[in-house]
Every structure is written in C-alpha cells, then in structure tokens.
C-alpha cells in the first residue's frame, strides 16, 4: 500500500483560501497556527509586516492575497529578509494565463503591445502593478520607462522591453473610475502577425485570451481554477522544489515603475491614508 501523501498545513482566515484548502484535500490541511504552515495573509494594510511576522512565527511559506499597495522600500525589505517562499496572488496577473500568452507568441513575437486598465482609486495602484506585470511578462525582461504623463484621473506612457527578440515598445493607459464593483479591468493587446488579446475583467468574472492569425481566431481554454487555489498550489510547488519564487522581485519591478503612472487622485488618496 502506498504511503499517504503528507498534507501541508495551511493557516488562513480568508474564506477564499478556506475553500481552496477544501479543494486540495490530498495535499493540504487546515492549520491552527503559523508554525510549519503555509500562512495566507490579506494583501490589505501593511501586509509586508505580516510576512515577516509569519516567518518569525515559523511559517514554511507565505501567500499574500491580492496585495493592494506595494511600497518599494517595504518590498525591497522583504526581498532582503524573507527566507521562506513568498507567493503573491495577483488576481489580474494569473500565471496560468500569462503562460498561455507567452506560449501563443513564442513563434511570432509582437511588434507593439498596448496595456489598458481601469479601477476605482483605492485599487488603482494594484491594478497598475498588475498591468506592468503583464508588460514585464510579455517583454521577457526588465522594462525601461521611456515617457509617461499623469492627470488627476489617469495616466499614459511608453515602456521599452529589451527581450531576446529585440526591443519591444509597450504602451500603458490607466483610467480611474468613480465607482464600481471591486477588481478592476485590464486589457492587453499584442499587435503582430499573431494578434493576442488578454481581457481580465474581475467584476465580470472574465480572464480570457483570444489569439487571431490569418487562419482564424481562437479563444484559449478558460483558466477556471480559483486564483486562491492557484496561489496555494504554487506555494506547494515552491516548498516541494525548495525554491524561492520570483514574485517579490517582480512586484518590486512593477512597483518601481508604477510611480510614474499613479494618477493624481490616487496619489492624494495615499497621502491622506498615510497622514491618518
């Protein structure tokens, strides 16, 4: 008889992660405390302090659910001090859809990429981070800011990636809406012989990739796994493989670039909350 697989404890108070644990009954088990567990933290408030606290309490890995803000010094501090795998659940930057896109463009890199996103002000920074995360993924490397401009309600700019296929221009357009259900909207369009369009519309429950060539159009299979479950699975993989994922490094890059794209009213919001 085969030895039953050792289940990894998961310590979380977030309902979505409770559901994820229930759907991974072979590999995970709910935990009562942080020691030896994958600790799941909400991405609200000062989540970076929570990561270090979880590590100090003996967490084996930490998952941060939907980080809302990401101050560069705080993320850099984590990169310097986190010794356990830290996974970020970024709902608009699903690794499975990213992989689908990268695979779809493997033989026909785009000649220009546009990224557009919109969100209410409190979520705008996180949505901009994810938009830049898409740009980073498609650019296959570090992005260099060429030019950007912000207004009270939005921003646009040009980035350049220097990937393996040569320089690639990527535009970004941000819009802050007055109200709406949480989650934001993101659209990435890769222009080239393969025309690829990613739409992530969290309120509408959409995360789709459409690919069109001269032969026709194809909508890739919808990635239906809950983002919480996906994050948890990645944490398990990191523990099994003994590697530190690049999530924090990616977020740091995105956060550093995002400074040029934060619209005026979002900036004001941050200033107000910092002064409270």
């Amino acid at each position: 008889m085969r030895e039953p697989r050792k289940r990894v404890p998961v310590f979380t108070e977030l309902p979505g992660y409770g559901a994820a644990v229930a759907s991974m009954a072979v590999s995970t088990v709910p935990a009562d405390g942080a020691a030896g567990a994958i600790v799941v933290l909400s991405g609200h408030d000062d989540w970076w302090d929570g990561v270090l606290a979880a590590q100090a309490a003996g967490a084996a890995a930490v998952v941060v659910a939907a980080p809302l803000v990401a101050p560069t010094d705080a993320v850099q501090g984590l990169l310097d001090n986190a010794a356990v795998p830290v996974l970020l659940e970024r709902p608009r930057l699903r690794p499975d859809v990213v992989k689908q896109l990268v695979d779809a463009l493997a033989d026909a890199p785009p000649s220009l990429v546009t990224v557009e996103c919109s969100a209410v002000a409190p979520e705008a920074a996180a949505v901009i981070h994810d938009a830049l995360g898409w740009a980073r993924a498609i650019g296959q490397g570090r992005l260099a800011l060429q030019s950007a401009s912000t207004t009270l309600h939005g921003s646009i700019g040009l980035l350049q990636a220097s990937g393996a296929d040569g320089p690639l221009d990527i535009t970004l357009m941000v819009n802050v809406v007055n109200s709406g259900r949480p989650g934001g909207f993101l659209r990435l369009t890769c222009l080239g012989e393969v025309l690829a369009t990613v739409t992530v519309d969290v309120p509408a429950g959409v995360a789709s990739l459409d690919v069109a060539t001269e032969k026709g159009a194809l909508r890739l299979p919808t990635c239906l796994e809950a983002t919480e479950r996906l994050a948890l699975r990645r944490a398990l993989q990191a523990l099994e493989g003994g590697h530190i994922p690049a999530d924090l490094a990616g977020l740091l890059d995105d956060s550093q670039l995002s400074a040029s794209f934060i619209p005026g009213r979002v900036e004001r919001l941050f200033r107000r909350s910092a002064s409270v």
């Binding site: 000649s111 401009s149 207004t151 646009i156 535009t171 941000v174 819009n175 309120p203």
Partner: protein, 346 residues
C-alpha cells in the same frame, strides 16, 4: 437625376473602394470621367464603367459633364486640386483624407470653397459610421467625463479586402522603396504621413473627445510599419497605436473611450469591405457589457449618401468643422514628428 462624378486618381481607393461603393447608392451618382497621373489605370477603370478617361487634371476639370470632383490622388496633391476644381467652377468636391498637409493649405482651400459656395466633404469614413453617432449619444446621455481615449490598429495587407469588393486587381499602391528610418527627417516624414493618412480617420472623433492638443508624450515608429503616439489634451489622455503586418488576422481597428464611469469600445470593420457599421460595446464599472445593434450601412456608403444630401440642399457644409479637423490632424502629426525627432537627437 444622378450627380456626375469625375475621379482624379485611379488607385486602389478608387478601384476597390469608391467605384464599388457607388453601386450601393441606388444610382445617386454616375461616374463620367476618370483621370490618372500617367499610370494608365484610369483607362482600365473607364472601360468597365463607360466613363471617359484622361491623363492629368485639365481635361477632367474642363469636362462640363462633371458635377462633382472626387479627389483621390496622393495627399500632397489635394489642396492644389481642390483649388483647381473650384477655379474650374465645379460645384462639389469629395476629397479623400487628408484635406491638406499644412495649416496654410487647409486655411486656403476651406476659405476658397466657402467663398465660392463649393460643397466640400472629406472622406474620413469613420465620422459617418452610425456607430460613432451612437457612441457619442451614449457619452452625452450618461454624462460620463471622458478621461482617456485609445485607437488601436493592426492591419493586414489591403489586397485581402480588395478582392472581396472588386475585380481586376491586384490594386497595388505605388511602390516607393524602403525608407531609411535611421535618417530622422525621413522617419519624421513617415510618421507624419501615417498620422495624416491613417490616424486621420478618427480625427473628427478625437477632436470631439480631446479638443486641444497640449503636448505629445511619446512618439515612436514601430517596425515593420507602425506607430505609437501618446498625447495629452487637457485632462484627456490619448494613445494611438498601429502596426501593419505582412500577414495577420482580420483587421483590428478599435477605438476605446474611457470615462469616469464606463468604457466604450467601437470596433470598426476592415477597410474597403461593406460589412455594416462598427460594433459598439459599453462596459459599466460593475462589469456589465452592453452591445449595441449594428447597422447595415457602413461609413463609406454613408459618406457618399451625405454628399448626395449636400448636393440636394438637404444640409449645410460644415466648413468650420472640416477646417478644425484638418488643423487638428496637422497639429498632431507635426507635434508627433517633433517628438520623434527629439528621440533621435537624444
């Protein structure tokens, strides 16, 4: 009685666009004369339409049978040919976009047409697409503040669409060798040409949404042929992106208007074909998508129908609007070219 048209120019825009389009207009127009600059294509087209043909402009402009002069020549020729048509006493001009490439030319041709009472219409077909009217109505009715606009194009070769609407092709444009884009002036010229030739289709809409260009934030040429231009117009940000690909999917021509409360997407059909109006969708901030019904008539047919109404006296010529559109396109192309040049100097 149909209005008699004489075409100055016999390239793909005439052979695969305007001549077939006129067939949708229930005999409102009749082609009586075609002229080319020496290519011989006017003769071929004339044979199939029963029209006269000539070389150069003089015979067509002197032809008393021509009521309407349709100017479909290279853009640099447009102002001069408009002035000649007015001088020849022609009562109406259909001018393919752009109207002019310099402010002085734009001022002059509009002033001359206005003074002579010559009807003038510029073929920015997206302006005439009913979907744009519907989108504007939506923007006005819901009072959302426009905050950002993007126009994104990914265009396969036109030949794919030519053969769906015309025979006798391929209708290839004049080949001019590959420009040396390492030369800043050449690059600036190419960008100027792309903006005044392609982006100009949406200039009436852009001017409505983002009336005064305050500054170009970035301007790039994109290989193999394309551009990325971002600019600011007051509190409205505008992003223009275009690539032409040697092979590729169906044409993408999408305008997005982001407001304070929703996102409006207008997908225009490919050039040349008659596939109905653009498709308009609106996303509310709650994630609800609403798709408006498409109309059977496309912008090409609609623009000729508007010209027929102008000729029938049913509506006035909007000279001021035409002039403002021309100035906007030139301002944008000039400013983007300067920005592009700064990149080369850096």
């Amino acid at each position: 009685m149909p209005w008699n048209i004489g075409f100055l120019g016999a390239g793909p825009g005439v052979a695969a666009l305007h001549l077939p389009t006129l067939g949708y207009l229930d005999g409102a127009f009749r082609v009586v004369h075609l002229a080319d600059a020496g290519s011989g294509r006017a003769r071929l087209l004339a044979e199939s339409t029963g029209a006269r043909w000539s070389q150069g402009e003089a015979q067509l402009l002197a032809d008393p049978a021509v009521d309407v002069v349709a100017i479909c020549s290279p853009p640099a020729e447009h102002p001069r040919q408009i002035l000649q048509a007015v001088a020849a006493g022609k009562g109406a001009i259909f001018c393919e976009k752009p109207l002019a490439l310099t402010h002085a030319d734009a001022d002059e041709v509009v002033a001359v047409c206005r003074a002579a009472g010559t009807l003038l219409l510029v073929g920015t077909n997206h302006l005439f697409d009913s979907a744009w009217g519907r989108a504007k109505h939506h923007l006005v009715a819901l009072e959302g503040r426009v905050q950002a606009v993007s126009v994104t194009l990914c265009l396969p070769p036109n030949g794919r669409y030519h053969e769906l609407v015309a025979e006798g092709g391929p209708f290839l444009p004049v080949r001019r060798g590959r420009p040396d884009l390492s030369d800043p002036q050449v690059a600036q010229g190419v960008l100027h040409q792309l903006l005044t030739g392609l982006a100009v289709h949406d200039v009436p809409a852009l001017r409505d949404l983002a009336p005064v260009i305050d500054g170009v934030i970035y301007a790039r040429l994109v290989p193999p042929i394309g551009y990325a231009v971002g600019y600011r117009a007051g509190d409205v940000l505008v992003q223009l992106a275009m690539t032409m690909v040697p092979q590729g999917a169906d044409a993408l021509w999408k305008m997005v208007v982001e407001t304070s409360q929703d996102r409006l997407e207008v997908d225009f059909p490919p050039a040349f074909v008659h596939a109905g109006s653009a498709a308009t969708r609106v996303r509310s901030t709650g994630g609800r998508w609403t798709e408006y019904r498409r109309e059977a008539e496309d912008g090409y047919t609609a623009e000729w129908r508007v010209l027929a109404e102008l000729l029938d006296g049913g509506m006035p010529v909007e000279y001021d609007e035409l002039l403002a559109d021309a100035h906007y396109a030139i301002d944008l192309a000039d400013a983007a070219a300067v920005k592009l040049g700064e990149g080369y100097n850096a």
